[in-house]
Symmetry: C2
């Protein structure tokens, strides 16, 4: 078997750059010109490697999920349900204001609404957001089985609440809210945790 000419760019580096463009401009707002310039490659190389603009986004989303999975492992390892919630919101307050990235969350900034020809992008992003919510839910179900949450607590509602606050934090972070502001939102949200469960 023959190998052919080797790829001359670093795929992960290129994906990081693409991720940043999608993050900052959204799927519709990210043009091929922007993407290829940021990635340092020409359009044919991009299409050979990722198939299409949408394929590139999905590859970038996979890489984004990889990054977050480390955080989530730590979050879900919290000893109590409340610890899990606190770790979750705190890690979001930090990551959504990390100066190394565009503000906010790629899964929110990427495109809640898209134009003709990009109709499935919002679904793609929503399904990835739902995955985090499911992870929280399973952890809360476990917590309830452990007697760590009151009997009358609805784990579905709790996971959805945290997921919703996380999305909201993405919105306000992208609008310029700073880290302390996000931390305060996390703090108030945790009050809701104890007050209601």
């Amino acid at each position: 078997m023959v190998m052919g000419r080797p790829r001359s760019f670093d795929m992960d580096k290129a994906l990081d750059e693409a991720m940043e463009v999608f993050w900052r401009h959204g799927y519709d707002g990210a043009s091929l010109a922007m993407l290829t310039k940021a990635m340092g490659i020409k359009a044919p190389s991009l299409y050979a490697a990722f198939g299409s603009k949408e394929g590139l986004l999905k590859a970038a989303l996979d890489r984004y999920a990889l990054r977050r999975s480390e955080h989530m492992r730590y979050v879900l390892a919290g000893p109590t349900a409340r610890d899990v919630a606190e770790r979750f919101l705190s890690s979001i307050a930090e990551s959504h204001t990390d100066p190394a990235n565009p503000p906010g969350c790629l899964l929110v900034q990427g495109g809640l609404a898209c134009g003709a020809g990009s109709e499935n992008i919002p679904f793609e992003l929503a399904s990835r957001r739902a995955q985090t919510e499911t992870e929280l839910l399973e952890r809360f179900v476990q917590a309830k089985a452990d007697g760590d949450l009151p009997e009358d607590t609805d784990p579905v509602a709790l996971a959805r609440f945290l997921s919703t606050v996380a999305s909201g934090m993405g919105v306000i972070a992208s609008s310029g809210a700073n880290r302390d502001a996000l931390r305060e939102v996390a703090r108030v949200s945790l009050g809701a945790f104890t007050g209601n469960a």
Copy 2:
């Protein structure tokens, strides 16, 4: 003075249609072709009336604000801070799942991230979201002066929390969350209210 040829379309009706297109597709995703078709007018009429695509968005946002101002009057008239919060989140659960409109909130769906040439759109939307937060803040400051909120309560944090949850509800509503789901998010959020203030 001479009047000239009268406008042959209803401006408010046309704005309602434009609003829906921006709401469903976002600013970048809403093309002039979509907009003119939905509004039932041709491009030159649109430009004569609104100046530009961005001018059209702003006019639609003004009309959107007009709609919401009625809700906000009711919300802010709540007798206690907690009532205000409850009215706020409840009205959002309803409005963001009103089948008469696209799901979610125009101020979120409209564009958190935009492409080259639309850089100021996210700022425009953010400033309109901030207005609601300011209204809540002022009401909570008043509540505190009334002795309606504990001394150690931070009205800024409280208003920001509610605003953040509202944005998050917009995100999940646009992803298909139904009215009951939003109501439960509102309920849990209010638990945060009593638990923390």
